[in-house]
Structure formats: structure tokens, C-alpha cells
């Protein structure tokens, strides 16, 4: 059972960084909704305690996953995806050219990838802001309902942006997978 180096890195980008970032954003949405509870707000405001350690680790991990997803996508995967195919080359190794070579598949690049490559960056930016507010300004969160609503709105926007980017990424990679590079054997052959 083999996998190529580019396929492995693409899996790490999409399924590890991107997938877990999307899950973490949804978890953050649930966490923040739970913190709208008036009793919880009153208790938290009275105790003046900082964020629990697990929340600190969770939010920092969420932000790290988000930035890892967009940076690995833009600077490792995307150059493989958009590499210019030399004349006569096997287009299977040049996904952008494979897609744009046919009118029936060009939309996967001209619409899907063009949208994904930009909208993705909104998710870690918003996620960073949300994590920073939740970790450093809990008092403002507890004191102002408008702060809570706004931060919740930005988490929802981050989730939407990450879902668009992740969804298109998965579909485009199914249509024209990024492949090539050294083969890595994951498991011995079986009969």
C-alpha cells in the first residue's frame, strides 16, 4: 500500500489541519453559545478567574491548525496544483491545467479554486481574533452582550469560510488530485 509524497502532504493539509480546524471552529461555536447562559456569565464575572487551562489549549490549538492549513495550502500544495505544464506533459501531474483543459471541468478551477484560495484566509484571521478575546478579555465578554453577539458572529463567519474552503478543496482534489513525488510505502503488500 503506497502513497506519493504529494498525496501525503495534501492529506495532512486537508484532513489533519483543515479538517480538525473546521471541527474546532464548530466546537468553539458551541462553547461560546454555552457561555451565553446568564447564570454562567454571572458566576464567571464574579469569580474573575482566567480561562480554564483546557480552553486555553483548545483555542490556541484551533488557531494553530487554522494557520497551518492556510500556510501549507498556499505555500506547499498550491504551487504543485498551479505548476505550469510543459508541452506534451502528462496533465494528471498538473491539476490546474488538467481542469482548465476542458470546458466541462474548467469551472472547478475558475470558480472553485479561485474562491477557495482567497476565502480560506478569513477563517484563521477571525479565529485568531475570537481566541484572543476569549483568552485575554473575558471580563468584556461577561460585561457586554454586544461583545458576545459580535464574537459569536465572527466564529460563525470563520466556520463558513473554512467550510467553503475545505469543501471545495475536497471536491477539487477528487476531480484532479495533487499527485507525484516519491512513493512512500505505508504497508507491505497483501494478497
Amino acid at each position: 500500500m503506497e502513497i506519493t509524497q504529494r498525496e501525503l502532504v495534501t492529506m495532512i493539509h486537508g484532513m489533519l489541519f483543515g479538517g480538525f480546524f473546521l471541527l474546532a471552529l464548530f466546537g468553539a461555536l458551541v462553547l461560546l453559545l454555552d457561555r451565553f447562559n446568564p447564570d454562567r456569565i454571572a458566576a464567571d464575572a464574579a469569580s474573575m478567574k482566567p480561562a480554564p487551562r483546557w480552553q486555553t489549549i483548545y483555542l490556541i490549538a484551533m488557531v494553530t491548525l487554522g494557520w497551518a492549513a492556510v500556510i501549507s495550502g498556499a505555500y506547499i500544495i498550491y504551487p504543485w496544483y498551479r505548476a505550469i505544464a510543459p508541452p506534451g506533459a502528462d496533465l494528471a501531474l498538473y491539476p490546474k491545467f488538467l481542469l482548465t483543459a476542458h470546458p466541462t471541468t474548467a469551472g472547478w478551477h475558475n470558480f472553485g479554486m479561485e474562491w477557495k484560495e482567497h476565502v480560506a484566509w478569513i477563517a484563521p484571521m477571525a479565529g485568531t481574533m475570537v481566541a484572543w478575546v476569549m483568552l485575554r478579555h473575558r471580563a468584556a465578554w461577561n460585561a457586554h452582550r454586544s461583545v458576545r453577539s459580535t464574537v459569536l458572529g465572527f466564529v460563525a463567519a470563520a466556520f463558513l469560510a473554512a467550510a467553503i474552503a475545505g469543501g471545495w478543496g475536497a471536491m477539487i482534489n477528487k476531480k484532479a488530485p495533487v499527485q507525484g513525488g516519491q512513493s512512500i510505502q505505508l504497508m507491505g503488500s497483501t494478497r
Partner: protein
Amino acid sequence: MTEIKLVPPNPVANGPVAAAVLACGFGCFALGALAVAADGSRSLAAALNFYNPTGPLSGVATVAIALWLVCWALLAARWRNKTLAFGKVSALAFLLLALGLLLTFPPCGDLMLGR
């Protein structure tokens, strides 16, 4: 332009959060605006081509992130220990965020570029 006024003192200042939220909205808008501008201008796309294998996306993302962080730092310094009319800041931030999301949507960019 909406004027953001100070409101009566509140025991818990919301200025730093307002700075973070507004800067984030601005960063998202900058990303969308730069993406459309680079798509419409070859010279700008070339100028934003910071890393050739990635192309203009490298410059679009880098400049948008730099603008976001600079805006955040400036607003945080200005609004430290202040309590603002958060509703107006929030409305402006959501407007910028929505514009940023819309501008990254290819049909909107194409419409703006007359394609």
C-alpha cells in the same frame, strides 16, 4: 462615515475588543479588495507576486495580514482602557467582513471588473 463616540464610563472597558473586532473586519475586507484588484490589474498582480510558485496569492494574503495586524495594533493603542459604543463598531466590522466575503466570491469580483 459613521462616527464612533465614547459612551459613559463602564467598569469593564470594551475598547481592546472593539479594536480586535474592527481590525479583523478590515483585514477581511482588505483581503477581498486585494484579491479583486490583483485579478483586474496585471501590474498589481506582478507586484503582489512575492513568491513565484504561489503567485499573486502570496502577496494578497501577506499584505492583507499585515494590514490587519497594523490596524489592530493602532486601534488597540488608541482604544486601550476606553469603553466605546460597541454596536456601531460591531456594525462596521460586520459590514467589512461581509464585503470581504463577497469580494472573495468570484462572480462578485468578475462583476466589479466588468467581465
